[in-house]
């Protein structure tokens, strides 16, 4: 790439670490056998998968037999939600989730609603937190599943998962958490948290795309999701993505080994950005909690401007970021997360998400602040909303 690129969209995806790629390579070309085959090449592939399963189980503090590989984080979410809903439908058809879940969760619940299930959506406060007392009040005798995300992909808010899972446990309800954004950022241990199901996706922590996993606690009633061969203990059919699975395990192991240092690095960059922007740009708000947020996540709303225009102009400066504006959400409504934390539409439209990663530097942050100050000013100069505000004040 010739152009200057500053990649700050690590919540969307990360690059594959070269040392992870090296470990994957032999399974594309040399050890390409089908893990279900009984000869040497098949056994080598099988061994690689089982080693990866053990590595991931060790990171999570789980048993290897509780780790199931999937094709994505989305598939893991769909499996957890639909699999538990159907397997337990004789007990009841009531399910609970939150208003700020990823679409992989929300749309799985939408599907179940059409199938006759009832779904309660817990609200969140202005920083994006689910209140434990709301969960306790929502659980009914016919509730079979609670699914609350670990950390939000847009505003970075980290939920009190341990507390929420304890409430579900006490009432005998299965608890799932979509930990796609948390993994690689937080020291997730399934037994400390007492979660029953947990989804992850490799490409969020410097692993490859096209591979995810679902942790299923031993004894949890769940239906199979993909039907076919006997892979994944008869629960998820389809020839395994061997290289991808090897890559996910290698990437997760590296992430767990470097958690503290990685956190400190990201937090330093985020703090520098937040402080710099708040100091230099007026009429801006930080979305999400100031402290209990993913260390690399920063989400701003700039008043009087629209997020997609902001992204296009940042892109011209080489800055790759994302927004919750309608134009980037694929509908005319801005992000459901920003609306759920109480932002008015026009302020939600002006949002910007920056998510830092390993290679970002303080120089990157300073460059982003300079560009933002210039671009936000330029967009405001061309905004009729800003003109009204300047002429008529807050009432306009």
């Amino acid at each position: 790439m010739d152009r200057k690129i500053i990649y700050v969209d690590h919540a969307a995806t990360t690059y594959l670490k070269p040392e992870v790629f090296e470990q994957m390579k032999p399974y594309f070309t040399e050890y390409f056998g089908n893990p279900s085959s009984i000869y040497y090449l098949g056994r080598e592939s099988k061994k690689a998968i089982e080693n990866a399963r053990t590595t991931i189980a060790e990171c999570l503090g789980a048993q290897p037999s509780e780790i199931y590989f999937t094709g994505s984080g989305t598939e893991a979410d769909n499996w957890a939600i639909k699999g538990v809903a159907y397997a337990n439908r004789k007990k009841g058809k009531h399910l609970i989730t939150s208003a700020i879940e990823h679409h992989a969760v929300l749309h799985a619940f939408d599907f179940l609603k059409k199938e006759g299930f009832e779904v309660t959506y817990l609200p969140v406060d202005e920083n994006g937190f689910v209140k434990p007392e709301d969960l306790a009040a929502a659980i009914r005798p016919d509730t079979t599943l609670v699914s609350i995300m670990f950390a939000n992909n847009e505003i970075g808010t980290i939920q009190p998962i341990k507390e929420l899972a304890a409430i579900a446990k006490e009432k005998g309800v299965i608890f799932h958490t979509d930990a796609v954004q948390a993994m690689g950022n937080i020291d997730v241990k399934v037994n400390e948290l007492n979660v029953d199901l947990l989804s992850m996706s490799a490409h969020k922590f410097y692993g490859p795309k096209g591979v995810g996993a679902l942790y299923i606690r031993k004894g949890v009633r769940i239906d199979s999701f993909v039907h076919g061969g006997a892979q994944e203990r008869n629960r998820r059919a389809g020839t395994e993505n061997v290289a991808g699975i090897v890559g996910m395990a290698a990437a997760l192991k590296l992430a767990y080994e470097n958690l503290d240092e990685y956190n400190r690095h990201l937090r330093r960059l985020s703090d520098r950005l937040i402080n710099g922007v708040m100091e230099r740009i007026p009429y801006v708000r930080l979305n999400g909690d100031r402290e209990k947020r993913l260390p690399g996540n920063v989400n701003f709303s700039f008043r009087f401007i629209e997020g997609e225009s902001l992204l296009l102009m940042l892109d011209m400066k080489g800055i790759q970021a994302s927004s919750g504006s309608a134009c980037t959400s694929g509908s005319l409504d801005p992000s459901h997360v920003l609306l759920a934390i109480g932002l008015p539409h026009e302020i939600a439209h002006g949002s910007l998400r920056i998510t830092f990663g390993e290679k970002n530097t303080e120089e990157d942050v300073d460059y982003i602040i300079d560009c933002l100050a210039e671009i936000v000013d330029r967009l405001r100069q061309m905004s009729p909303l800003y003109e009204d505000f300047v002429k008529n004040g807050e009432k306009a």
Partner: protein, 133 residues
């Protein structure tokens, strides 16, 4: 993104604003009109890249035209001048057409001329009904 004709005209003869902040697009158009000919056009837009592009190209298209000619600039002409728009962004071109109409209606009102009541008075609700496919 290098839009042409951004800004406002201090002593504009016609000003029109369409759209609403809820749907994420607002366009404001300023016209300088001499003897029914649009001698200058400028705009301000709160909106996505396509909204900025359609308002900019719309001002380019109507400059030098009479107001009657300008009223014939359709959203289709705006889209063609931009070499096409994705389906989800077509409502932006409709908004540009309406912004022209709203600014001209304002000019006519100031000069005691008949205003076609079918013209967009502000938010056309298009944004709420034109859901993408």
């Amino acid at each position: 993104m290098h839009p042409r004709n951004v800004g406002e005209i201090e002593d504009a003869d016609g000003v029109g604003q369409v759209g609403n902040p809820k749907c994420g697009d607002i366009m404001k158009m300023y016209l300088k009109i001499e003897n029914d000919v649009i001698v200058d056009a400028k705009f301000k837009t709160f909106g996505c890249g396509a909204a900025v592009a359609t308002s900019s190209i719309a001002t380019e298209l109507i400059k030098g035209k009479t107001i009657d000619e300008a009223l014939k600039v359709t959203n289709k002409a705006v889209v063609e001048a931009l070499d096409g728009l994705p389906p989800a962004k077509l409502h932006c071109s409709v908004l540009a057409e309406e912004a022209i109409a709203a600014a001209i209606a304002d000019y006519k009102r100031r000069h005691g001329l008949d205003v076609d009541d079918n013209q967009c008075p502000g938010c056309c609700k298009k944004c709420e009904t034109d859901e993408e496919e």
